[in-house]
Amino acid sequence: MNLLKTFALSLALAPLTLAAQERYMTRTGHVDFHSSTPIEDIHADNDKVTSVWDATSGAIEFSLLIKAFTFEKALMQEHFNENYMESNKFPKATFKGTLKGVAADQLAKGGSYQVTVEGTINIHGVDQPIKTTGTITVDGKGGIRAESKFQVKPEDHGIKIPGAVRKNIAETMDLNVRMDYTKMP
């Protein structure tokens, strides 16, 4: 009897949950990182980040290819992939978590919202919990931009940096995330 009731209730609610699905995505999201030391500055951009954000549940995911990071100097890019990130073995970095601070119905009108993002980041095959803040900017014409800055320590992800170049590479990398989401059909 109870089971039947639940079944009937879920049937009745089904159209409601479907209508409430507010999912956004991008496949040309931007992530860059920067390392600054007195010896050298290292910077790389990745404009091929894919991300899906379900504004109803708050679930958010990112995936990017390590090899898609572009450095100005080809040699630096080769060293980054071969010596540090071992990108043949670990081709992707991912994030899975939850975004809080904005409700799906607020996205219909323009505005700027401070949000928090919490979840697990996987770099070089190593998971680490992460919590950071960000901004969601809605232009009211369907454009939704999510931005965040946070830091990552290479050593937290099992990335070994030889003593000889330790002073060339910062202890923490500054990461910038910028996603221009569009609504999924």
Binding site: R27, T50, V52, K67, T70, K73, A74, L75
Partner: protein
């Protein structure tokens, strides 16, 4: 005399080594216009290779110069600060071949529906799990 020759050889070797090291350190990315493609295939074939067996496709295509023919699904960021992007159609509407062009190198006339031939370095497939994705080609150039 002998010592002087040795010093001279040493100096020349040092200069060559220094020059090589310096130019290697500052080396930019090779322009693919003159590069011969390692593989030539259609957009659908390339996507299928990654969807069917990503690990095998990674070892076959990643870091290789791939020439792909296909129909443009969309052109994005043609005039922005980030690289321009051209996505080629595949049978899967949630997946495509994303071709990254340096700003200013993308033909202005390119639009959705055009049949094109693109050459670029393949860097992998971004999809997986719940995420839809694209096969990525970077440092793309147009092929006549």
């Amino acid at each position: 005399m002998k010592a002087r020759t040795l010093i001279l050889i040493g100096a020349v070797a040092l200069a060559i080594g220094g020059w090589y090291g310096y130019s290697e350190f500052n080396r930019g990315h090779a322009d693919l216009s003159e590069s011969k493609a390692d593989f030539t295939l259609e957009a659908d074939e390339l996507l299928a290779a990654f969807v069917n067996d990503e690990a095998a496709a990674n070892s076959q295509y990643v870091e290789k110069v791939v020439k792909v023919s296909g129909t443009i699904r969309e052109v994005t960021n043609a005039g922005g600060t980030a690289p321009a992007n051209v996505t080629l159609e595949t049978d899967d509407e949630m997946a495509g071949i994303a071709c990254e062009f340096k700003q200013g190198t993308l033909p202005a006339a390119w639009k959705a529906g055009d049949k094109v031939l693109v050459k670029g370095v393949c860097t992998g497939y971004t999809g997986g799990g719940m995420l839809p994705g694209d096969v990525i080609l970077q440092r793309c150039v147009t092929v006549e």
